[in-house]
C-alpha cells in the first residue's frame, strides 16, 4: 500500500445486553481505508451496519457496550481518547451523517447558528465574522445559496436540509465521513444531486467516506469498495466491480442476484429464509442455514475473514486459500 491508511479498524466488537441475553451486534470487524477512498457498507437491517458506524464514533449507548477493538483515524486511536478529546475529534477527524439527518436540525434555530455552533465547539479563538464567512462558503460548496445561512430548517426542502447536514459535516474538514443512508428519504433526482455533492466535497477535502445502506444501485454508482455484513460480521470486502461481477461469499452472491436490473425484467429472486436473531445465532457460519452450498464444517467452525490473492477478503470455508 503506497499511502498510509487514514482509517484502520481492528477487531471491533459491540454487544447489547438485553433482558433476553447478550446480543453481539458487531463481532470482530476489521477494515482499512486509504485517504479519499469510498467504502460501501451493506447488509440487511439488523446486520450491524449502523452499530459499526456508531461504534467508530464512540456513540454506542447502554445497554450497548464497545468491548474490544481499535479505531485508528489518521494515526490516533479513538478508543484511547478521553471523553473530552473524543468530543473534539468528532467533526474534526471523523464526521457522521446519521440516518434521516435532515430531521436532526433544530427547528427553532437558524441554519447559520447551528453551523457556527459546530465551529465554536472546536475553536475558541475564531472571530464571529470569520466563522460566518466560513459557514457561508461551505454552504456554497454544497450547492446552496449563501443566504441559506439566515433561514430556518422549515424553509428548506428535504434535499436542501440534507445538504445543510453535509455542510456541517465538512465544516472542519474531517479525514473520514460516515454517511448512514444519507438519501433514503429522497427521490431519485434529489438523491443523485446529494450524492454528487458528497462526491465533490469529499474530493475537495480529501476525506475517506463510508456509505452505509442497502441500496446496491447507489453503491454501484458511488463507492470504490464494498464491505458486506451479515449478522454482525463482515463476510466479504471487495472492490465494487468484483462484488457486482464476481461476488464470492454465498450471501453476497444471493444479494447481487436479488437485484432488479434492466436485463432480467420480471425475475424476482429473493434470498430464502430470514436473517437470524442476534440472540440466537446459529453455530459456525451464521449464514449456513440459508446457504445453498453449506458443508458439514460450516455448522461447527466459524470462518475467519481471510485476505485472498486478488486483494479481496472473504469469510467462507469455500475460500480458504488465504494469504494472511
Amino acid at each position: 500500500m503506497a499511502e498510509n491508511p487514514v482509517l484502520e479498524v481492528s477487531d471491533l466488537r459491540v454487544s447489547y445486553y438485553t433482558d433476553a441475553g447478550r446480543a453481539i451486534a458487531l463481532d470482530g470487524a476489521s477494515l482499512a481505508l486509504r485517504p479519499g477512498e469510498k467504502l460501501g457498507l451493506v447488509g440487511e437491517s439488523g446486520s450491524g451496519k449502523s452499530t459499526m458506524a456508531l461504534a467508530m464514533m464512540r456513540m454506542i449507548k447502554p445497554p450497548g457496550r464497545i468491548e474490544n477493538g481499535r479505531v485508528v483515524v489518521a494515526g490516533t486511536d479513538l478508543m484511547a481518547l478521553s471523553e473530552e478529546q473524543m468530543l473534539k475529534a468528532r467533526l474534526s477527524r471523523i464526521a457522521y451523517i446519521p440516518q434521516g439527518a435532515m430531521n436532526s436540525l433544530n427547528p427553532v434555530m437558524r441554519v447559520g447558528a447551528q453551523m457556527a455552533d459546530a465551529i465554536k465547539a472546536h475553536e475558541t479563538r475564531s472571530s464571529k465574522a470569520d466563522i460566518e464567512e466560513r459557514c457561508r462558503q461551505t454552504l456554497e460548496s454544497v450547492d446552496l445559496k449563501r443566504s441559506v445561512f439566515e433561514l430556518y430548517p422549515h424553509e428548506l426542502s428535504g434535499g436542501m436540509k440534507q445538504r445543510v447536514c453535509i455542510a456541517i459535516d465538512i465544516l472542519l474538514k474531517p479525514r473520514l465521513i460516515i454517511a448512514d443512508e444519507p438519501t433514503s428519504a429522497l427521490d431519485v433526482v434529489t438523491q443523485r444531486q446529494v450524492m454528487e455533492t458528497i462526491n465533490r466535497v469529499q474530493k475537495q477535502i480529501g476525506a475517506a467516506v463510508i456509505l452505509i445502506g442497502h441500496d446496491m444501485g447507489l453503491m454501484a454508482q458511488f463507492v470504490d469498495k464494498v464491505a458486506v455484513m451479515y449478522a454482525g460480521r463482515l463476510v466479504e470486502i471487495s472492490s465494487v466491480r468484483q462484488i457486482f461481477t464476481n461476488p464470492l461469499h454465498p450471501y453476497a452472491q444471493a444479494l447481487i442476484s436479488s437485484l432488479p436490473r434492466l436485463e432480467n425484467k420480471g425475475v424476482f429472486q429473493g434470498i430464502p429464509g430470514l436473517a437470524p436473531s442476534l440472540l440466537r445465532l446459529p453455530g459456525g457460519c451464521a449464514f449456513h442455514p440459508r446457504c445453498s452450498r453449506a458443508m458439514e464444517k460450516c455448522r461447527t467452525v466459524r470462518p475467519n475473514l481471510l485476505d485472498q490473492t486478488d486483494g479481496r477478503s472473504v469469510a467462507c470455508h469455500l475460500f480458504t486459500k488465504g494469504v494472511s
Partner: protein
C-alpha cells in the same frame, strides 16, 4: 369494456390561509380508467410533491376532488349509498409505505386480520374466519403458524408488509392501491413483496395501482406507467417504452438518475437544474419548464398530449411532429 375505476378530469387544489389564500394544485386534470375485465398493474411515478399520494387518497375516497368525478363501477364515489359504500370499502384496499407505523402494537396479527372479516361479515364461524386468514397469509407467502398469534414487534419489516397485503386480501378486493409498498423494506425482501403483488394480479384478479418513485421496481412489476410532475401527467404508456425510450425531458431526467446496480451503467451526464422556488407553481404552462433544459417560449402554454406510438404519449412541445390527442383518452393507450 366496463370500467372498474374511472377518473374524469380530476383536479385537486389545496388552499390555506383565510385572507390571502394561497393555493397548491396537487393534481391537474387527470383522467384514467382501470378496466373490470382485465386486472392490470399500473404505476404512478413521480418525485415528492408530484401528487401521487393525493391520487391514492382520491381513489380511496379519503378526500374529494375539487373538480371532476371519480366513478367506481359507474357510480360517483362521493355519492354512494350506505350499501354501496360498504362494497366500495371492501373492494378497494390499500397498502401504505411504512410497515412499522400502521400496526397497533397491542393487537396480535390474528386480531388485525379478523377485524375486517367480522366487520364485513365474511365468515359465519370461527373456523371459517381462520380458514380465510390462513388462505390470505399463504397467498402472500407467509406460514400461518409463523405469524398468527404474534405481535407486530415480533415480526420483520418484510413480514409486516406482507401481512398488510394479506389484510387487504382477506377482503377479496378488486383494486389495491399500493403507495410505496417497498420503499421502507430491505432490498432482499423487496423482491418477495413485489412477487406477492404480482401473484395477486395474476392469480386473484386484483388490479393494482402501484405508486412509487422507484422506477426500477416499476419497470419490473407493471404493464403501464404514468409519470406525474407537480400534479400534471408528463408521459404515459406501456412500461417498456417509457423506461427504455423516455421522451419527455422530465422522464429522461428521472430515468437518468436511477442508480442502476451495474458498474458499467453510470449515472447520466444530464446536468440537473436545481429546483426553483415555489413561486412559479401556479403559473400556466408546462410545470417542468422552469427546470427544463429545452424550455421554449411556447412552454408557457400547457402542451397537449402527443401520441408517439400506439402505447406511448408525452405532453411536451418537443414531440410536436406527432399527432395530438385528448388527455381524456389517455388511458385508452395504456396496455392492460
Amino acid at each position: 369494456m366496463a370500467a372498474l375505476m374511472e377518473l374524469m378530469g380530476v383536479t385537486k387544489v389545496y388552499s390555506r390561509g383565510l385572507v390571502a389564500r394561497t393555493t397548491t394544485v396537487a393534481l391537474r386534470d387527470v383522467s384514467l380508467t382501470l378496466n373490470q375485465e382485465e386486472p392490470t398493474i399500473m404505476t404512478v411515478a413521480g418525485e415528492s410533491g408530484s401528487g401521487k399520494t393525493t391520487l391514492a387518497m382520491l381513489l380511496l375516497g379519503f378526500i374529494t376532488p375539487t373538480n371532476g368525478t371519480i366513478l367506481y363501477k359507474g357510480r360517483d364515489i362521493s355519492r354512494l349509498s350506505g350499501d354501496e359504500k360498504v362494497t366500495f370499502r371492501r373492494e378497494v384496499q390499500a397498502v401504505f409505505q411504512d410497515p412499522f407505523a400502521v400496526f397497533n402494537p397491542f393487537y396480535t396479527v390474528d386480531h388485525l386480520l379478523s377485524v375486517p372479516i367480522r366487520r364485513f361479515h365474511l365468515a359465519r364461524t370461527r373456523n371459517q374466519a381462520r380458514d380465510r386468514m390462513v388462505e390470505a397469509l399463504t397467498a402472500v407467502g407467509l406460514h400461518p403458524d409463523d405469524v398468527l398469534g404474534r405481535f407486530p414487534h415480533q415480526l420483520s419489516g418484510g413480514q409486516r408488509q406482507r401481512i398488510n397485503v394479506a389484510r387487504a386480501l382477506v377482503l377479496k378486493p378488486r383494486l389495491l392501491v399500493a403507495d410505496e409498498p417497498v420503499s421502507m423494506v430491505d432490498a432482499s425482501l423487496r423482491a418477495s413483496i413485489l412477487e406477492t403483488l404480482r401473484g395477486l394480479q395474476r392469480d386473484h384478479g386484483v388490479s393494482i395501482l402501484y405508486i412509487t418513485h422507484d422506477l426500477t421496481t416499476a419497470y419490473h412489476i407493471s404493464r403501464s406507467i404514468i409519470v406525474l410532475y407537480r400534479g400534471s401527467v408528463m408521459e404515459a404508456g406501456d412500461t417498456d417504452s417509457v423506461i427504455t425510450t423516455p421522451e419527455h425531458p422530465y422522464t429522461r431526467l428521472l430515468i437518468d438518475s436511477i442508480p442502476w446496480p451495474d458498474v458499467d451503467r453510470r449515472w447520466g451526464e444530464t446536468k440537473i437544474k436545481a429546483k426553483e422556488g415555489e413561486a412559479g407553481d401556479n403559473a400556466p404552462g408546462c410545470k417542468f419548464a422552469s427546470r427544463c433544459p429545452f424550455a421554449m417560449d411556447k412552454c408557457k402554454v400547457t402542451p397537449p398530449f402527443f401520441r408517439l406510438a400506439e402505447h406511448h404519449a408525452a405532453s411536451c412541445y418537443l414531440m410536436e411532429k406527432h399527432p395530438t390527442m385528448d388527455s381524456a383518452q389517455l388511458s385508452d393507450l395504456l396496455p392492460t
